[in-house]
Symmetry: none
Subunit: 226 residues, 4 copies
Amino acid sequence: MTSGQKGRDIPRTVEPRTAKAPKRDAERTKKEILAAAMTEFAEYGDTGARIDRIAERAGSNKAMIYSYFGNKEELYAVVLREAYLQIREGERKLDLAKLDPKSAIVELLRFTAYHFRDNPWFLRLLNTENQRRGQTIRQLDGLAELNSPLVEFLREILLRGEKSGVFRKGVDPVEIYLSIASLFYFPLSNTYTLSIVFDPDIGSDAWLEKRIRQAEDMILKYLIAD
Amino acid sequence: MTSGQKGRDIPRTVEPRTAKAPKRDAERTKKEILAAAMTEFAEYGDTGARIDRIAERAGSNKAMIYSYFGNKEELYAVVLREAYLQIREGERKLDLAKLDPKSAIVELLRFTAYHFRDNPWFLRLLNTENQRRGQTIRQLDGLAELNSPLVEFLREILLRGEKSGVFRKGVDPVEIYLSIASLFYFPLSNTYTLSIVFDPDIGSDAWLEKRIRQAEDMILKYLIAD
Amino acid sequence: MTSGQKGRDIPRTVEPRTAKAPKRDAERTKKEILAAAMTEFAEYGDTGARIDRIAERAGSNKAMIYSYFGNKEELYAVVLREAYLQIREGERKLDLAKLDPKSAIVELLRFTAYHFRDNPWFLRLLNTENQRRGQTIRQLDGLAELNSPLVEFLREILLRGEKSGVFRKGVDPVEIYLSIASLFYFPLSNTYTLSIVFDPDIGSDAWLEKRIRQAEDMILKYLIAD
Amino acid sequence: MTSGQKGRDIPRTVEPRTAKAPKRDAERTKKEILAAAMTEFAEYGDTGARIDRIAERAGSNKAMIYSYFGNKEELYAVVLREAYLQIREGERKLDLAKLDPKSAIVELLRFTAYHFRDNPWFLRLLNTENQRRGQTIRQLDGLAELNSPLVEFLREILLRGEKSGVFRKGVDPVEIYLSIASLFYFPLSNTYTLSIVFDPDIGSDAWLEKRIRQAEDMILKYLIAD
DNA sequence: TATGAATGAGTGTTCATTCAT
DNA sequence: TATGAATGAACACTCATTCAT
């Protein structure tokens, strides 16, 4: 049962080996394997991913994978952690601190929407890990720390909003982040089924823009003080 | 790489064979296999599901599966269609036509929330099919027809609301259904990762009740005419 | 590093499938696999034995082996137990109870000598298990019981000898069995090295007959009362 | 299927590298590899031995092994020859020429017993080579020459015994050596199985002492002229 | 001389699928 | 219709051996 297909949507993180570069470069090989593994796991899920294919994608061979990562399970764990690293790094770069609260929320919402659309491999990796019932994420260290900056950042925005009288009181930052993420995760993670079942437009660029405006509307109406 | 675990969350649809029942009952065997397959695919996903286990769960044997369903792929297709059948049937039974628009929306929202929580296998099946990039759902016939009643029903509610001046104009029923589903799908489908990353409470009964109230608030604020 | 070679010295225990016999016969297949495994483990040792070859030798396939025996380790354990079963069964059939003590000892000695020569696979299996530091035999149940009849039998012979004044007092049956086995185990298990290092004759039929007479002489001189 | 275990019973033959010693010392590296290989082959047998582990044990690397020894097979051959060298050297040092025949035999017997017990790696190497059906020893040159001094020495003792009337006539030195070696090889090489099957004491210090006395008794009774 | 990286042919094990009864 | 036996193509993982530096 072959699940995924081609799909090459993970951002290249390794430059092609130049003529000058040495043929035996452990660091580089390791990175190439990791990049290949991210693609493979996102495309096929945990049980569907193939070590053979990862080796081929990485232009390396199976033995190297085992030498560098131990086994499939451990490789998957590294991939999962790397996924969170990359996402949070993206959010960090937003630097919304200088915007007023309303704009900051809107900006985060738009970022999230496009981030989900542009990095479907991340959604698929989340799906995979939840299909596995969190077997691996449970064992990763420092994930809470990795994710807390986002929450703290949101908390600060909400507080500023409260103080300036724009936002109502008592809204939890996690709650708001969940709402924002929810509104895009569902349609963007389930585009294949939803577009068949409800509307073929779902997932298109035009649809997304419209959806973003509706979500903005919804979130802000919820947040604004009466 | 073993993904899923025990988990027995698909509602029994086949009664246990009674003493009276004949040993050779084609129809019954088929149903038992299908029920077993639903559980298996929901628990392990497409690549993780095992024909052996399905046969065992069904109290039957592998050859029967092939005889009745062709192969794993086709069995999966039947499982997927069955999943949609069961869900829509649940919604149909709600019979919200007699409620006023606001109550109807609230009721649908609550139903959706609890339905997702009580039928995680459905979420997992959706995940699986989207991981497969809709490979199978694309080929199922009559799915749009199967799902349209829900949309028509919602459209009617929104219209009633508009007419009575409670709801604002121009809200699309699919849009609203997506919003409602989104708000619960994300946290309930990703409970494992979210509870590790953000808050261990996510997914608990108390959390869900709170979440439902927030979602009601959000959806109604969005729908209500100013 | 390929150790063993051809060598087909385990006694056939399974008749060739006749035209009449059914093609699907679990019991028979299992026996054939076991017979093949005995040969393979004896020839190549534990790490050298190949599941592929066992399957081929058995005229079956690898999946059957796993279906019937679990894995290589468990298959090896069954082989080891079987080896002891066959040996002790051979000794049991000797039925030396009717001979006088001296003749009984001589007979046992001759049997042991020829048994070792005719069943080199047994010696090799012992070697293998001791190379493994008894990893498996330690876990086999009922081995002591399996072997005790031989000891009891010897004890009875020695007692009879004592009473009739032929044998001296206080000789332990295990001690005597060890001596007899030792005298043939070493040269017959190490024929390859010994014949290179000391004398190419070692292991030949003529050599064995001479050796048996020397061993008889040695054992009896040791046993006889002065 | 992992056979051996820890076990560090080969006598150190290489001194630890001192600060003064150069980092690049071909002769030394070669010796260290050989020592490591002896341990490894004795512990795991031919097929179980791992080039990786040998390199690690030697504090060197795999390429060195191939550079110095060609391949695993050839390395094994060197190990095997070395084993015989060390053993015969031990016997040579005994210098029993000054003892009377009876004492000399007893001394050789005791030496053999303790030598086998103290150098189980040698027994294991013999086992291994015989499991391989002498594949390698057959190709080693000069082994007969290496081993003949022992035989000649024994022959001389027996002759002296004959002439002084203590020993009977016509006893072959190889025959006697085989007997002595046999009586200890079997129980000491098969301690693991024998202690499970017959008596847990087998192999203990007390047991060995008792066994030595029995063996002395047996050998001398056999040798002594009536 | 020395080292760590790289590779390809295995090797044990699993699994979807088919066959004989 | 029903069942357990049989099979071959994977698949994760290992290991002897070679290469680049």
